[in-house]
Symmetry: C2
Subunit: 232 residues, 2 copies
DNA sequence: CCACTGAAAACTGTCAACAGTTTCACGGTA
DNA sequence: TACCGTGAAACTGTTGACAGTTTTCAGTGG
C-alpha cells in the first residue's frame, strides 16, 4: 500500500530538482501518468493522504491536481469519500469515438488544403512504417505507430483547439482499457484506410479526406463494437 | 477593492446554508459566474486572497477552484503571480467557431434521425419565438433565444459528450465579449438558417441537417469576421 | 456461525500560519 | 525632473493541524 515504487521515483526526483514548477503541476502529471498507464485502475479510489505521502508533498497540491483532473474527466469525486478513477462505460467510449471521428475528419479536410510537402511525406512514411509493423506482425509497434499517425494528423492540421480537444478525448478513451484492444487485430484494414486518408490529402481533395478520416475512426468504433458485442 | 458587493451575496448565502456541497465547488461556480458575466475582465488578475476574503472562505478552496478553471481554459496561472482571466485572441475565437460548427452539424444530423415529435415542435416554437423577437427588434431576447435554440439542439441530440464539449466551448467563447456582438445585427439571416435546420431535421434528412447546422455556425463566424475585420 | 453495535482508526474538508517571491512606494542621486 | 536602489507591504506556494465524516474491526448477543 505504501510502497515507494520506482514508478513514483521520477516524480520524486522532479520534486527534489524543481526550480520554478509548482508541486501541483508535478503531482498533476504524475497522477495523470498513473491513471493512463493503468497503474491506478478504473473505479479505484485514490487516497490523497497516501499519494501525498508517497510523493513527499502535502495534501494541498494533491487536492489541486485532483481538482484539475476531475474537470478534465479522468477522476470523479464523492463528498467526504475522496476521488476515484473514473469508470468509462461502453456507451461513453462509443461517444468518444464519435467525437474523435468528427475531429479527425475536420483535420483531414484541413490538411488536404494546407498540408506542406514535408507533412505529406511524413504521413506517407508513417503509413509505410505501419505497413512494416503489420508485415512483421508487431502489434505493439503498430499500436504506437497508429497513435503517432493520428496525432500527426491533428498536429499538422494547425488547429490548436481541435488538437487540444482531441488530446483530451484520447486520454479519456485510454481510461477504458478496452479501446486498446481494438487496434491490433485489424491492422490490414486499418492501414488501408490510413493510406486512403493520405491519398485524399495528397490529392488536395478536402471533402474526400474528411470523409476518409471520419470513416476511419467510425470503422474503429465498429471494430470495437464487434469485439465487445453485448459483452459488458 | 474589498467591497462585499451584492453580486457575491448569493455565494455567501450558499456558503452559509450549505449542507453537503464542498466550498470548492461553490467557489468554482461563483468564479465561473464572475468571469462569464464580465465582472472580471479578460486579462485581469484574480487575487485569491481577496477572493477568499470576499467569499468568507480560506484560500484552499479558492486554489482548488482556480486549478479546475485553469484546466477548462477560463484561467491561466503564472508562477508566483497568481491566476488571470484568460485572454481569448481573435484567432482562438475563430477556432472556437470551427469546433462549434462541427458539433452543431453533428447534433443536427443526429436529430434528423432520432428527434421526437415533441422535440421537433419545441424547436419550431423556438424559431417562431426568435422570429417574434426579431420582429419586435428585441436584440436581448433574440440573443437569449438564440443561445437556447443552440443549447436545445445539443441537448436533444442525446449525445452527452458532444453536449459537454459544446458547453465548454461556449463558455470559452463568452470570454471574448466580441462574440456576443455578432448575433444581434443579422437576426433575419440567422433565423432563416435556424428555420432551414429545423426543416431538414423535420424532413429526417441527416446530411442536409448536418450541412445546415455546420453552415449556420460558420456563417456566424463569417459575420463576426466581417464585423471585426482586421480591427484587432 | 452470523448479524449488530459502538468505539477507534483513517480519511476528507477546511483553515491558519510560515517561507519565499513579487509588487510598490519612498527617498536619494544625477 | 527622471532614474534607480532599497526596504516594507502584499501575495503566492506549501505545510501542518483541527473538526467532522466514513470506514474498520473487535466484541456482544442471538
Amino acid at each position: 500500500m505504501s510502497k515507494v515504487g520506482s514508478s513514483a521515483m521520477s516524480a520524486s526526483e522532479a520534486i527534489a530538482q524543481r526550480r520554478s514548477e509548482s508541486l501541483a503541476s508535478i503531482v498533476l502529471r504524475e497522477m495523470e501518468r498513473m491513471i493512463l498507464s493503468g497503474e491506478l485502475k478504473a473505479g479505484e479510489r485514490i487516497s490523497e493522504q497516501n499519494l501525498a505521502l508517497r510523493l513527499g508533498v502535502s495534501r494541498g497540491p494533491v487536492r489541486e491536481a485532483a481538482s484539475a483532473l476531475e474537470r478534465s474527466g479522468l477522476l470523479t469525486s464523492v463528498a467526504n469519500r475522496g476521488v476515484f478513477v473514473r469508470h468509462v462505460s461502453t456507451e461513453e467510449l462509443l461517444e468518444l469515438y464519435d467525437m474523435r471521428a468528427l475531429l479527425t475528419g475536420f483535420a483531414c479536410a484541413r490538411l488536404a488544403e494546407r498540408a506542406t510537402a514535408e507533412q505529406k511525406a511524413a504521413l506517407r512514411a508513417m503509413v509505410e512504417g505501419l505497413e512494416a509493423a503489420h508485415a512483421a506482425g508487431d502489434g505493439a509497434a503498430y499500436y504506437q505507430g497508429n497513435l503517432d499517425f493520428h496525432e500527426a494528423l491533428m498536429t499538422f492540421a494547425g488547429h490548436d483547439k481541435a488538437a487540444r480537444i482531441y488530446e483530451t478525448l484520447l486520454k479519456e478513451a485510454h481510461l477504458s482499457r478496452r479501446g486498446v484492444l481494438a487496434a491490433a487485430p485489424m491492422m490490414q484494414e486499418s492501414n488501408t484506410e490510413h493510406a486512403d486518408i493520405v491519398a485524399a490529402i495528397a490529392a488536395g481533395d478536402g471533402p474526400r479526406a474528411r470523409e476518409a478520416g471520419e470513416r476511419h475512426v467510425l470503422n474503429g468504433k465498429r471494430r470495437l463494437l464487434a469485439k465487445v458485442g453485448g459483452g459488458d
